[in-house]
């Protein structure tokens, strides 16, 4: 797509079509006429496919492997090799009832006349934005994304388009994630200060877990990191994709009592579950963007909150709108009112899609 998309009538030149565009002299089909929000998710009408559908769909384009975006039971699934591997690890080899269609970043396919390609989103291993081109107009679905460095995945790439669809998980100016290195220092300092306590860190099992492990290694922590059973398969998968997580081991009834002064990673839901009782003198740690809000951390009984997020913070969101340069912004899940307002202040056309079902909490 060329820069011409943003001059002239404001739209791309393309072959004459059954134009349903309401602008005079306009020959492209605006995405609002071929993208629809349905209860299953976002639907591309001419392509006959959904993006990150919440219910089994005939054709699905999946941006990344988190459970609220990647579900089992679709017919044809288009996603990156990594995302498909994650889906197989979570749902079994037969999660797609017809076929998997692995894509590399930048590679385009035609789905019923719509040109679809995936581009790095920097969120977790394999995460992508989905670019759709139809009748001369392009729309990019960012999925979940961040702009910070993350050695466990390919960094976000701005993709020029007519409509940019963005998440808004942390879309308030109070959300500014501190550097990851500082948060890791907090954890390692606490480990020195409370060497008799087991440091139990609540992290999302996919992405956050592995990113934290790599960051601890980079900060010089070489000891075995102990894992809740839910993390193991995904850590093996990251390892198979060449990401070195250092030595780790599963928490078992036998070794649990010996984990004083060690770091144990578990899903956030296990922090206050009975599972954690067998660990010695637990110090509760959680790594999430939400930890910035004190009341929220305290309410969850977290003693050491680490502000670590795989989503864009406020500054990153605004930076991204400006980097992508799309004249029109659609906002999916999160604090859409603030981001819509800020985008309008930047002179962009912006609206909220009010998608439901994508989780706020499972960060």
């Amino acid at each position: 797509m060329s820069a011409s998309s943003r001059d002239g009538g404001g739209f791309l030149g393309a072959e004459p079509t059954k134009s349903v565009c309401h602008e005079p002299r306009c020959r492209m089909t605006h995405p609002r006429d071929w993208i629809e929000v349905r209860k299953e998710g976002v639907f591309c009408k001419p392509g006959g496919f959904f993006i990150d559908p919440m219910h089994p769909a005939e054709i699905a384009v999946v941006t990344h492997g988190h459970a609220d975006h990647a579900r089992a039971g679709h017919g044809d699934v288009f996603a990156t090799y990594e995302t498909l591997a994650i889906m197989r690890a979570r749902y079994g080899e037969t999660h797609a009832t017809i076929a998997e269609h692995p894509l590399t970043h930048g590679q385009a396919v035609d789905i019923n006349g719509v040109k679809v390609s995936l581009h790095p989103a920097g969120h977790i291993l394999g995460s992508s934005q989905a670019r759709l081109e139809y009748n001369g107009a392009t729309i990019v679905f960012s999925g979940d994304y961040k702009r910070r460095a993350d050695p466990t995945c390919v960094p976000f790439e701005p993709v020029p388009c007519d409509v940019f669809v963005t998440e808004a998980t942390f879309a308030l100016p109070v959300f500014r994630h501190p550097p990851l290195e500082d948060e890791i220092v907090k954890l390692l300092t606490s480990l020195r200060q409370f060497p008799e306590r087991c440091h139990l860190v609540g992290v999302y099992a996919l992405g956050k877990c592995q990113r934290m492990m790599v960051a601890m290694r980079r900060a010089g922590y070489g000891e075995t990191i102990y894992l809740h059973g839910a993390m193991v398969r995904l850590c093996e998968l990251y390892r198979d994709f060449g990401i070195d997580l250092g030595p780790w081991d599963l928490v078992t009834p036998e070794n649990a009592k010996t984990l004083a002064g060690k770091i144990v990673l578990c899903p956030p839901s296990a922090l206050q579950d009975r599972w954690s009782r067998k660990l010695p003198d637990v110090l509760t740690v959680a790594a999430s963007g939400w930890m910035r809000i004190r009341a929220r951390a305290k309410q969850k009984g977290v003693e050491l909150p680490l502000v670590v997020s795989d989503h864009a913070d406020w500054d990153e969101l605004l930076q991204t709108l400006s980097d992508v340069g799309a004249p029109e912004i659609w906002v999916t899940h999160g604090r859409d009112d603030a981001l819509v307002y800020a985008a309008q202040q930047m002179g962009l056309k912006a609206q909220a899609l009010h998608l439901i079902g994508y989780e706020d909490d499972s960060e």
Binding site: R147, R148, P155, P178, L180, Q193, G301, D315, A338, A342
Partner: protein, 537 residues
């Protein structure tokens, strides 16, 4: 300033007292004077910064933020200091959006002035220069640092460290008795360099004189069955134990003060009580609402507690007074070494001579033998504000702390009802994975009405069993609270029951605790509301 901000951050989230203690000890050991002393002053809320106000902070942030985004943010975060801390437009690296962040945590170390400089400037800068000074500081801070700075200014840290705990930690730091720290406390000023020098063994204890100081109080042990034979009328004096709060009233040449048992100065809350003491003395007594001869209930007193500056209407409606039971100083003379009987005689004479309004002598309870004392205790009715009997050796000196023998407290027998468990909530700290806070109710018709909540009174084994029961009998969850099947009966003990308009059931229990789990009893056989009505008188 950085170290102080880190300390506040950890204290805020640390639920265990032992953990808070460790964090403070580490901080004292690694932070130089005068910073650590100012930190103590800030935590103890004994630093006055009259020009650093909420309004100033609001003006600063309004000048820097879009009003809609500010409103949305504050709506989301809730608290102003935290909203501003997060929202402040900062030039720091936390804003950077570069894909290769190789800046290290240490790069910014030392960019902030020491805490003592900050405090000095906040106190002494002309009011007109203060906003610019605070803004400059905020500019070069991270969000937790900004929060710490704003909290210094607006007070009320809410980090769960009381003045009492702080003194205990200081005592532990210097391996000194806490009573001595408490005695010195009101005679020393921030940044407490003389106090730290003494605690570290580098100097003698600071000399404290001519100040309004708190004198550590003498405490009683519960009377156990084996002690009953010791209680003879010629050895032990008896008096009622009142259900108010224990206080120390001080009046000397330099002023007046009212302290709680834990040495908190509550003078501002009870200006009427300070007025009452019209001679130079230190009294030990019970703070109650006193209307002429009527003693108010603890509920009455609660209307007055925690109000920093009570209105004259409130004071008139709930006038506070003292039931005095001991005398520590009289006209500048320390009488603590005199026997209890002699101190009481001095107290009695002073009260008769000065006739203070609103201060009354706690009457002597004369008894001829233990059996009679027992019958006095048994006759206490619920409506009164008596929670038991105090027994004090007639020949005992007034000693700080809780020595065994001279003083006993003998509380009245608790009242009991069989209630049904209705809701359970997870506890905190070590109990955070257990359902250990329980709401229970009594039957009214076919309906259960909640009458109270308790979170103690069982063994660890029972706690585990209860936790299991809750998890298997949950009907629905509301956030951290679970509603359970109305199947389990708990025997609940409490000291008294009062009518209450704040509770749906119409009653409020005093000191409820779970005394037994009645696994055996069917829920429909639990007590009905009438049981409480019967216990009212």
């Amino acid at each position: 300033m950085r170290a102080f901000s880190r300390l506040l951050e950890r204290l805020y989230f640390e639920p265990a007292t032992s953990g808070k203690e460790r964090l403070l000890l580490d901080y004292f050991a690694t932070t130089p004077d005068p910073d650590r002393g100012f930190a103590v002053a800030i935590i103890a809320d004994s630093l006055s910064l009259p020009n650093f106000k909420r309004g100033m902070v609001l003006e600063l942030i309004r000048a820097r933020t879009d009003p809609h985004l500010l409103a949305m943010s504050q709506d989301y975060v809730g608290e102003l200091s935290e909203t501003v801390a997060h929202l402040w437009p900062s030039a720091l690296k936390e804003r950077s959006v570069s894909a290769n962040e190789d800046s290290t945590a240490e790069a910014s170390e030392g960019r902030l002035p020491p805490l003592s400089d900050v405090v000095h400037n906040l106190r002494h800068k002309p009011k007109a220069d203060l906003p610019a000074y605070v803004a400059d500081l905020l500019d070069c801070m991270t969000s937790p640092e900004r929060w710490a700075l704003l909290k210094i200014g607006t007070g009320s840290l809410r980090i769960g460290v009381s003045a009492r705990l702080l003194k205990q930690v200081l005592a532990k730091y210097g391996n000194q008795p806490v009573e001595q720290v408490e005695t010195l406390w009101h005679g020393v000023d921030p940044p407490y360099e003389d106090l730290f020098a003494w605690l570290e063994g580098r100097a003698d204890a600071p000399v404290v004189h001519e100040k309004l100081t708190y004198t550590p109080v003498m405490l009683a042990h519960p009377l156990e069955e084996k002690d009953h034979r010791l209680i003879l009328p010629e050895t032990y004096a008896a008096e009622w134990k009142y259900d108010g709060i224990r206080v120390q009233v001080v009046h000397s040449a330099i002023g007046r003060a009212l302290f709680t048992r834990t040495a908190d100065d509550i003078s501002h809350t009870f200006p009427d009580v300070l007025e009452h003491l019209n001679f130079h003395a230190v009294l030990d007594g019970e703070l109650l609402v006193l209307r002429g001869d009527d003693l108010g209930t603890f509920n009455d007193l609660q209307q007055r507690l925690g109000r920093k500056s009570p209105s004259s209407k409130l004071i008139k409606e709930y006038p506070a007074g003292i039931i005095a039971y001991d005398l520590l100083m009289l006209e500048g003379e320390d009488v603590r070494s005199q026997p209890y009987a002699a101190r009481r005689a001095l107290l009695q004479a002073a009260l008769e001579h000065h006739q203070p309004a609103g201060i009354r002598m706690s009457p002597d309870l004369r008894y001829k033998d233990f059996a009679e004392l027992e019958s006095f205790r048994g006759s206490v009715d619920n409506a009164s504000v008596i929670e038991g009997v105090m027994l004090k050796r007639r020949d005992s000196a007034y000693v700080a702390g809780r020595p065994t023998g001279p003083w006993y407290k003998w509380k009245i027998n608790p009242k009991l009802v069989d209630a049904v468990l209705m809701y359970a909530q997870r506890g905190s700290g070590k109990r955070s994975s257990f359902y250990s806070d329980f709401t229970f109710g009594l039957w009214k018709g076919n309906e259960l009405l909640p009458i109270g909540k308790a979170y103690f009174g069982f063994t660890d084994a029972e706690l585990k069993e209860l936790d299991k029961w809750v998890r298997h009998n949950t009907l629905q969850s509301f956030g951290p609270v679970r509603e359970v099947r109305k199947d389990l009966v708990l025997e609940v003990a409490f000291d008294a029951v009062h009518r209450s308009t704040r509770h749906k059931s119409g009653y409020a229990l005093r000191f409820p605790r779970i005394s037994r789990i009645r696994w055996d009893k069917p829920a429909q056989d639990a007590d009905r509301m009438d049981a409480l009505e019967g216990l009212l008188t």
